[in-house]
C-alpha cells in the first residue's frame, strides 16, 4: 500500500495510540473533579497544553483544545465575529478557504455580517495589497488559510499580519491545519490573533485539535456549559486525545525537521516523473508551496476514474479535499485560480507524510504513467 492522501488524514503514530490507550485507561478522571483522580487528569491536560503551546511558540493559556479543524475554524470565525459585532460587521476572507471557514462565513452572512471573499492569482496566491484595500472602518476579522489543502500554496500570512498591524481593531485568523507540524509559522511575529490546528493531520487522532487565541482576544463560545477551557469551549475535556495530540505534534515536528530533505527529494521524484507526460498539467506552483502537496490534472480523464485505477495498483490519492470530494464538484481553489472547469474536473492531489519513501515515489510515478497509458487506450 502506498498512502499518498495525508492531507485528508494521516495514520496515527503507534506511540500516539499507546498514549491514548494508557491515558484513557489509567487517567480516566474528569479534570474538573476535586479529588486526586481528577487532579491527575487535570495535570496531564495541563502538560498537554504546555507542550502544544511550546511547539506552537505561544503561551499555554492561549491554547484552547477543540475537536479538530472544523471546530477551531468555526470557533475562530463565529466566536470572534459574534463577540466583536459591536465594533463592526465586516469580515474578509479568501475564495480558497477550507469549507469550515467558507461556510462559517456564509452563516455569518445570514446573521447580518458582510463578507468579502478575496480572489487569488493564477498561481493561487492572495495579494497582501488586496487584503489591505478590502479593509473598511467596520472590518473586524481577516481569515486566511496558511497552507491551502487542495493545491498546497502557502499564503503570505506573515506579510498580511505585518500589514494588519496598522489596523489594531482587525483580528487575524489563520487556518494552519495543513501546515502545523510541518511548516514553521511565527505566530507572534506574524501578528496572528487566532490560529487553528487539527490533530489527525499530523498523526494524532480524529476529534482532536487546538485553537490559539491570543491573550485578550474575546470569543463567544459556540458550546455553552460548565466553564471548561476558560469558558470558551465547554464540555468535559478529551484528556487522552489531547495528550495524544501533544505527542503527535512533537513527533511530527521532529520528524519533519529531520526528513525535510528526503521529503523534497520524494516530491521531486514524483514531479519529474509527471513532467515527462504531456497529458499532465501541474497546478501546484513550484515556489511558496508546501513540500508535501502536489495537485495536477490528467487531461481528458475524470479524476474519479483515475483514482480508482490507481487504487487497483495499491496507490491511494484523492481528488480535491476529502471533505468536498464526495460532492463531485471541481475544486474551488482551482476554479479560483482560473483553471477551466474541464481541467479542474480531472485534478488529482498527492499528499505525502514524512513516513513515505523514495521507493514509493518511484513506484507511484511509474504507476501513474502506466495508468495514463492504459486508460488512454480505453477512453480515447
Amino acid at each position: 500500500m502506498i498512502y499518498f492522501d495525508n492531507s485528508a488524514t494521516t495514520k496515527p503514530y503507534k506511540e500516539v495510540l499507546d498514549s491514548f490507550l494508557k491515558v484513557s485507561a489509567g487517567y480516566f478522571g474528569n479534570p474538573s473533579s476535586l479529588h486526586g483522580i481528577g487532579g491527575q487528569a487535570e495535570k496531564l491536560l495541563g502538560q498537554a497544553r504546555s507542550q502544544v503551546a511550546r511547539l506552537m511558540g505561544v503561551k499555554a493559556a492561549e491554547v484552547i483544545f477543540t475537536s479538530g479543524g472544523t471546530e477551531g475554524n468555526n470557533l475562530a470565525l463565529k466566536g470572534a465575529a459574534l463577540a466583536n459585532r459591536g465594533r463592526g460587521k465586516h469580515i474578509i476572507t479568501t475564495q480558497i478557504e477550507h469549507d469550515s471557514v467558507a461556510n462559517a462565513a456564509r452563516q455569518l452572512e445570514e446573521l447580518g455580517f458582510e463578507v468579502t471573499y478575496l480572489p487569488v492569482n493564477k498561481e493561487g496566491f492572495i495579494d497582501t495589497a488586496a487584503v489591505n484595500a478590502a479593509i473598511r472602518d467596520d472590518t473586524i476579522l481577516v481569515s486566511v488559510i496558511h497552507t491551502n489543502n487542495e493545491v498546497g500554496t502557502i499564503q503570505p500570512v506573515g506579510e498580511i499580519g505585518q500589514m494588519l498591524k496598522d489596523f489594531p481593531k482587525v483580528l487575524f485568523h489563520v487556518d494552519y491545519v495543513q501546515g502545523a507540524g510541518k511548516l514553521p509559522l511565527d505566530i507572534y511575529g506574524s501578528n496572528i490573533d487566532l490560529c487553528t490546528i487539527s490533530g489527525h493531520k499530523f498523526h494524532g487522532l480524529k476529534g482532536t485539535g487546538a485553537l490559539f487565541v491570543r491573550d485578550g482576544v474575546k470569543l463567544l463560545p459556540l458550546l455553552s456549559g460548565g466553564g471548561q477551557e476558560g469558558e470558551r469551549r465547554n464540555g468535559t475535556e478529551n484528556v487522552a486525545g489531547m495528550v495524544a495530540m501533544a505527542k503527535a505534534l512533537r513527533m511530527s515536528s521532529e520528524r519533519w525537521e529531520r526528513n525535510m530533505g528526503l521529503i523534497n527529494e520524494i516530491m521531486g521524484t514524483i514531479k519529474s516523473g509527471l513532467a515527462e507526460m504531456p497529458e499532465i498539467i501541474i497546478h501546484t506552483p513550484a515556489e511558496n508551496s508546501a513540500p508535501h502537496i502536489l495537485n495536477f490534472s490528467v487531461k481528458g480523464f475524470k479524476a474519479e476514474v483515475f483514482i480508482h485505477a490507481l487504487e487497483e495498483k495499491g496507490i491511494y490519492v484523492s481528488t480535491t479535499s476529502a471533505c468536498s470530494s464526495r460532492k463531485s464538484r471541481p475544486s474551488k481553489t482551482l476554479l479560483a485560480m482560473g483553471v477551466p472547469d474541464g481541467v479542474a474536473e480531472s485534478a488529482i492531489r498527492i499528499s505525502l507524510s514524512e513516513e513515505n519513501t523514495l521507493a514509493e515515489a518511484k513506484a507511484a510515478a511509474g504507476a501513474i504513467r502506466e495508468t495514463v497509458k492504459q486508460l488512454g487506450e480505453v477512453m480515447k
Binding site: 491515558v23 476535586l34 495535570k43 496531564l44 502538560q47 504546555s50
Partner: protein, 402 residues
Amino acid sequence: MMYDRILIRYGEISTKGRNRNKFIDKLRKSVRKTLEDFPQVQIESDRERMYVLLNGEDGRKVAERLKKVFGIQSFSLAVKVEKDLDKMKQAALELFRSLYSEGKTFKITAKRSDKTFELDTNEVNYEFGGHLLKNIPGLKVDVRNPDINLQIEIRKEAVYLSAENILGAAGLPVGSSGKAMLMLSGGIDSPVAGYLSMKRGLEVEGIHFASPPFTSERARQKVVDLSAKLAEVSGHFALHIVPFTEIQQAIHKQVPDNYTMTTTRRLMLQIADRLREKFGGLALITGESLGQVASQTLESMYAINEVTSTPILRPLIAMDKTEIMNIAGKIDTLDISNRPYEDCCTVFVPASPKTKPKLEKVKHFESFFDFEPLIEKAVQETERLLVKPGGADSGQEEEDLF
C-alpha cells in the same frame, strides 16, 4: 542563516575586578545548563567575551534561551571570518543578503581592537559599505535609523560579523552571590521575589508549607509548576515541602483567633530558618510588599521578624501590586499563581487578623505551648524535590505519554 556562533557580552561582571574569573565561570555554567539540550554547542570564554559555537545547532533557538540567562548584557548571532579582506567581504555580502529584503536601509559599524589591521575603522566602513552598495542594486544607506546594522568587529584572532544586538536579562550570574531560601506560597508575589533575587546572582531554594487535607494536591502542584518556571533561570530549582497541618492545628488550639496569623508566620519563619541552616543558605527571601495585607504591615513584620536574626530579603517591599503583576506576567508565573486553590496562608485566615499585632502579646500567647517538638518534626519530615524546567516531578511513565 549562516551564523556559526553567538557572541556574548558580559553584564556587570566586567566591573567585578579580581573576582571576574569566578563570575565568568558561573556564567559559563548557567549558559551550559540552559543549553543542555543542544548537544553540539561548545562554549568558549575569555575575559571580555563568551562565544557559543553553534556547530550546526539552530542559532535562533539558542538565542531564545540565552535571553533568560542572568549575567548577559547583550549578545549577537555572529559569523567568524579569517582576517582576509576578500574573504571578509564575501562573508559580509553573504550574511547581508540573508537578512536583506527590498527597501531595507543599512549602515556599517566597524570596531577595531586589533590596531595592526590594514584598514582603520573609517576605511572599513567605507570599504564594506561600498562593497554592499556595488553588489545589491537599490540598496540605501541610513546611518541614523538603519534597518540592518552590519557590525564588523576586528579582533586579534579573527573578524566577527553580526547584524543585531539582542538585549540579555542583565543582572549577575545565578549562584555568584550565594544561596538563600525563598518562602513560596503559590501567590503572585513570591515567585517574583525569587526571580528578582536570582537576577542579583542568588542561588534560590523554595520552601512551601502544605497542610493536607486543608490544602489540596492541586495547591501543591501549583507550587511545583511555579518552581519549574523559576528553574528556567538556573536549570533546576530545589523545592522543600514542609508538612504543616499539625502545627496549624496546634496554633488554632492555643492562640486567639486574631493572633493566629502572626504566630503562623513566626513559626513558618523559624522552620524556614532551620532549613536554611541545614542546606547552607545565608538569607531568607519573602514576597512581602509593605502594607499589602495584614501580615505585611510594619507592625506585623516587626512582630514576626523577631524570631530570627537571619537577614530577610524582601525584594518587593516598595513595589506596587501592579508592578509585581507586570513582572509575574513577563516571567510567565501569573497564570499559574492565579489558579484558584487555597494555600495554607489563605485557608486559615481569621475573619479579622490583627494588622498591628503586639510582640509581647504574641509571645505571651505562644508561651503556653511548646512548639519546639513540632517544629523539629516538621523540619525532619520536609520533603525536598529537585524541579526541572518545563514541568516537574512527573515520573518516567508520565513522561513517556508525551
